[in-house]
């Protein structure tokens, strides 16, 4: 049994290699998961937004309204101020998308798309674009660039500080991507490693494998619960950090 191969098979993306009329369509497990999550969100939210007579429908509508209020009052307004109100749809979408991508990975036969650095980099690029747009919209190109120089900086230090601040902002966006990627990847690695304990111990002796079954499954259950918590936490952190960075660009000192 090659443990490394099993772990990489569980974690990595798999290309199904579909070629249509000489054109290679990049169908991979992660892109399929992304499409599935997008479709579920699109259809689900469309259904929720309609007027409902049933009790369940009304409950879901109320829950969604509560969710939007939470993002508005807990994330966007405290960090971005009233200027952030127009960006509320982006933050609501971002939170739900990151959350559902992480939760989809806990469904058997589905993969966590956010455990792929390309996906998180694309999400971070979107957030970087929003930060850039906020700066340009509220301060104009010159004002936006001026905002990178901290107040009270001596004139001779400006040529040194300015590139440092620009690189710092780029690094912050990179960190957004790496944090989400690392958390999702490590969680799933731990999950598969805990399961593999049974088989690794079982190879030594079948009775030892049977003995390891219960503790390993208990740990697996605990980690799965922890993964659900991490899914919510990381979605919240990603949204909150994006709003903090956008807010720092809008309200420069």
């Amino acid at each position: 049994m090659d443990v490394a191969e099993i772990i990489s098979h569980h974690i990595l993306d798999h290309d199904w290699g579909v070629t249509l009329a000489g054109f290679r369509v990049p169908v991979t497990t992660h892109t399929v998961t992304l499409m599935a999550v997008s479709l579920v969100l699109l259809l689900g939210l469309y259904w929720i937004s309609r007027r409902h007579q049933s009790r369940a429908g009304r409950l879901l509508t109320t829950l969604t309204e509560e969710y939007v209020s939470f993002i508005r009052d807990g994330v966007v307004l405290p960090n971005m101020g009233p200027e952030g109100r127009s960006f509320l749809p982006y933050f609501c979408t971002l939170f739900l998308f990151v959350l559902f991508c992480a939760l989809a990975g806990l469904i058997p036969n589905m993969k966590t798309a956010t455990a792929n650095i390309s996906v998180t980099a694309a999400l971070a690029l979107c957030s970087g674009g929003l930060i850039l747009y906020c700066g340009l919209k509220f301060h104009g190109p010159i004002g936006f660039l001026k905002g990178f120089i901290p107040s009270g900086t001596p004139g001779w230090l400006v040529p040194l500080i300015f590139p440092l601040e620009i690189i710092s902002m780029i690094i912050k966006v990179c960190v957004l991507a790496i944090r989400l990627f690392a958390n999702m990847l490590s969680g799933h690695m731990v999950l598969i490693c805990l399961l593999l304990i049974i088989f690794v111990v079982g190879q030594m002796h079948i009775a030892a494998g049977a003995g390891a079954l219960l503790p390993a499954m208990g740990l697996e259950l605990f980690m799965t619960c922890l993964e659900i918590l991490v899914a919510f936490l990381q979605a919240y952190v990603f949204t909150l950090l994006t709003s903090i960075f956008a807010g720092s660009v809008i309200h420069t000192h």
Binding site: L164, S168, V175, R179, L240, L241
Partner: protein, 86 residues
């Protein structure tokens, strides 16, 4: 000097600082390594990149610390004003 009280945003920024330090080090050292491969100057650009990454990481930590100290001072002033009014 007493630290705190920290806000939720402060906590998040503190947890981000370590990763920012690592990413700036890796990015700058990586850029130095790439330049070394291109110009055949190994290992000088890598060493310079690593040093620049370290300096950038330190700068980010110092800036965050200064920002938090300023925010704290503002917060304490506002609290004192509130107490004075009472």
């Amino acid at each position: 000097m007493a630290l705190g009280p920290f806000t939720k945003q402060d906590h998040l920024e503190i947890t981000t600082l370590g990763m920012e330090f690592a990413v700036s080090e890796i990015l700058c050292a990586g850029a130095g390594y790439w330049l070394d491969q291109r110009w055949g100057t190994a290992p000088w650009c890598l060493v310079a990149g690593a040093a620049a990454g370290f300096a950038l990481g330190l700068y980010q930590i110092l800036r965050a610390a200064r920002q938090m100290t300023q925010d704290n001072a503002k917060f304490k002033k506002a609290e004192e004003k509130k107490d004075g009014r009472r």
